[in-house]
């Protein structure tokens, strides 16, 4: 066992492709040649993938099976700045904010591995700030929908009642993930800034936090396509 574990240090020497696939999965040895935290984060994200896919699938199911016309998201989420309402503009801005935050997170991971503490922490705080902005805009969107448009989980004046329940469930769960991510990133950024990882020089925690953050962006890609563009 111990000899199998120590040999994982030379992952580059292991066979690649299908040979590597068979070798990694056979016998009593370490399967994933990555830090355990990273493997666990990936498995958590896999379980989250199932949750979000089932949310989106049940949304598809109720939307397909209702006789009542579905409210047109292009109009429901339009916003006017003085002039004619621009369709989906708030959602488009939220999408760009989340992508921007994904970019700053990717750079933070990169600077982490260069052991550039200040830049890593700064970029993570910027990422968290973008995330908080996203949640703020989502709160505004919910408020507009609930107060101005009269959307409730059990009905709305524009069409199928299922619109409200699926909308609040899906975007609410996603917003919860973003909120948790903001806290998670802020905590890790503070620890980076404090120099908690200087002794070991191991900044993989930043990459693991990054995996979570990119996943949140990834989920939004699907919500944007299936909820807002359908």
């Amino acid at each position: 066992m111990s000899s199998e574990l120590t040999e994982s240090a030379g992952a580059a020497a292991l066979p690649q492709g299908f040979r590597g696939f068979a070798r990694d999965w056979t016998a009593d040895k370490q399967t994933f040649h990555v830090p355990w935290g990273k493997a666990m984060m990936w498995i958590f994200l896999l379980s989250d993938t199932f949750i979000f896919t089932l949310f989106l699938t049940s949304y598809m199911n109720v939307r397909m099976s209702t006789r009542v016309p579905w409210p047109n998201p292009s109009e429901v989420f339009a916003l006017s700045f003085g002039g004619d309402p621009i369709p989906l503009i708030l959602i488009a801005i939220m999408t760009f904010i989340l992508i921007t935050s994904s970019g700053t997170m990717a750079l933070a991971v990169n600077y982490g591995y260069r052991r550039d503490r200040a830049r890593t922490a700064a970029l993570m705080f910027v990422t968290a700030a973008f995330g908080a902005t996203f949640v703020g805009m989502q709160a505004f969107e919910w408020m507009k929908l609930i107060v101005d448009e009269g959307v409730r989980p059990w009905g709305n004046p524009m069409g199928a009642a299922q619109f409200g329940s699926t909308f609040f469930m899906i975007t609410g769960f996603h917003g919860f993930h973003v909120s948790c991510g903001v806290i998670y990133l802020a905590v890790i950024a503070l620890k980076v800034l404090r120099g908690d990882y200087e002794a070991s020089g191991n900044y993989e925690v930043v990459e693991i936090a990054g995996l979570y953050w990119h996943f949140v962006d990834l989920v939004w890609v699907f919500i944007f396509a299936f909820f807002y563009l359908w």
């Binding site: 990555v34 990936w42 049940s58 989906l88 994904s102 993989e204 990119h214």
Partner: protein
Amino acid sequence: MATATEGHQQHPLAIYLWVWVLLFVLSAFSYMVDYIGLQGYLRWSLIIIFMLAKAGFIVAVFMHMAWERIALIYAILGPPVLLLFAVGFFALEGDYTFLTRLDFFGETDFVPSHPGEAH
């Protein structure tokens, strides 16, 4: 692509910046699909293509999946393929429910009111 040394995903900054720009462009494209009001199969194929391209770039580059070993890639990306079966089943079921409702209740009698009226 070469496998990175264990637990150390360090790559040139340029690749992140390029993917970043690409994600912006793809998002703008998918927004434009709605903005200019494309409909039908064209709308749906474009939305799905842009969505999958964005998802692919995020997972492959930002999440470093392109440089991971194949054992991890299959373990993470394999199971979600099963979800496509669930999507297929629920689509069939939704269609069946819709037709049954039309059969029993007829066309909808829902009249949309102006936003903000009903509370």
